[in-house]
């Protein structure tokens, strides 16, 4: 069964249709990248999955459970929060909490949600995740003492700490200096190798090719093209995909 199934998702802002009916599914343990030019709707799609935006129509199911049905609309409060936890989110601007250390950023939400775990267990898990991100000597630093790449790796650990079914990345390296993108892409690649289920919105085409099991190319609010990296990037058949890639490789 598909871990994620999205059907005919639609979203408009101010009468402008940004998502014009998006349908796709993905399997557990896969990495799906979403490419597309600015304004194609790829970030909006990701935000709809996290319910940062409420879709106007369509359905979202995780593990066969219907999380959202546009015909019914959204309940608020507890249900919405539980549904969100199926998805982790890593933002372009990191959005770490400045008053907490790297470790505290990672452990804050798990401590609040607890689920019967002791604080010690949660802290251990947090440390483990930060070590995995290569930040063993940065755990007690505050965000402003970290480089952008380090901050983004803390943000990844923070998202992983809640053990989401699907980890979403919204252009995770776009706010980074070129020399810092590598360290972030490296940890994402490691996660992919460990079969973390991920959706990555990115402009890094070379990276998407290396890391993805499947790539979606979005254009003007629809999925214009879809396939494995070798189909979509190395041998694009779709005219729009070819144009897009040509612009990027220029």
């Amino acid at each position: 069964m598909a871990i994620l199934e999205v059907k005919d998702l639609k979203k408009s802002f101010d009468n402008q249709e940004i998502l014009k009916g998006i349908s796709f599914e993905m399997e557990k343990g896969q990495t799906l990248s979403i490419l597309g030019s600015s304004g194609s709707g790829k970030t909006t799609l990701l935000r709809c999955l996290n319910f940062l935006e409420t879709p106007d129509a369509g359905t979202i199911s995780v593990n066969g459970n219907l999380l959202f049905d546009g015909a019914v609309g959204h309940e608020k409060g507890v249900d919405l929060r539980e549904k969100r936890l199926h998805f982790g989110m890593v933002f372009q601007q990191f959005n770490l909490f400045p008053q907490y250390t790297a470790l505290e950023n990672v452990t804050l939400a798990p401590k609040l949600e607890a689920n019967g775990k002791s604080d010690e267990e949660i802290i251990e898990l947090g440390k483990e995740l930060l070590v995995k991100m290569g930040l063993e000597d940065r755990m007690n630093n505050y965000p402003h003492q970290l480089s952008g790449g380090q901050q983004q790796r803390v943000a990844i650990a923070r998202a992983l700490a809640l053990k989401p079914d699907i980890l979403c990345f919204d252009e995770p390296t776009s706010a980074l200096d070129p020399e810092l993108t590598g360290e972030v892409l490296k940890v994402i690649k490691e996660l992919a190798d460990q079969h973390t289920t991920m959706i990555i919105v990115t402009h890094e085409i070379g990276f998407a090719r290396d890391v993805s099991d499947e790539i979606i190319f979005m254009d003007n609010g629809v999925i214009a093209d879809k396939g494995t990296p070798s189909q979509l990037i190395d041998n694009p058949s779709n005219e729009r995909t070819r144009q897009f890639l040509a612009n990027y490789l220029k």
Binding site: R81, F91, F97, P98
Partner: protein, 218 residues
Amino acid sequence: MFANVTLSLLEGFLGTLKLFILTLLLSLPLGLLISFGSMNKNPIVRLPIRFIIWVVRGTPLMLQLLIIFYGPGIFFGMNFWGSGDTGRFTAALVAFVINYACYFSEIFRGGIQSIPKGQYEAAAVLGLTKGQTFFKIVLLQVVKRIVPPISNEVITLVKDTSLARVIAFYEIIWEGERFIKSAGIIWPLFYTGAFYLVFSGVLTLLFGYIEKKLDYFK
């Protein structure tokens, strides 16, 4: 003589201090509530509150003191505040709390609205409730941002307490002025300035300390 005057002025300063402390204790939380109201999405809540803030910030505090103290008697023919010093103090306190709560609410609103949207979104995707988001994520960042403007208002409040004299509230300037009539000397009145100066000096140090304490994050 000097020691006597100092003692008398200290007694007057107790009145100043009482009004100052109670005003702060009540107007800070009330200001936070008002700031939530002034940011409410519903215009039925938001607009009346914005209107009240406009009136309170747009008229002199001295006038507000007079209206609040004498108003109930003049318009409704009732002695709302009770008699004597307690009545005057209560009326003065109510006027100060309303006035300062409105100023504080605008500082809170500015502070809260200056928190980047990304902080709320990060909290939301981590499954935090609205209350957790406010108290665990937003509040301290707001506090850090508003310490300088709050310290400004607090120091203004120290001096504004002298306005309560218009409804014959007993405080330090009142005490200083008394010496003009009773002993024919004016320097005690001038001397009151030293009390204000020392007290606002202490507050400046205190706020400087708080600012430094919050310096560990950016």
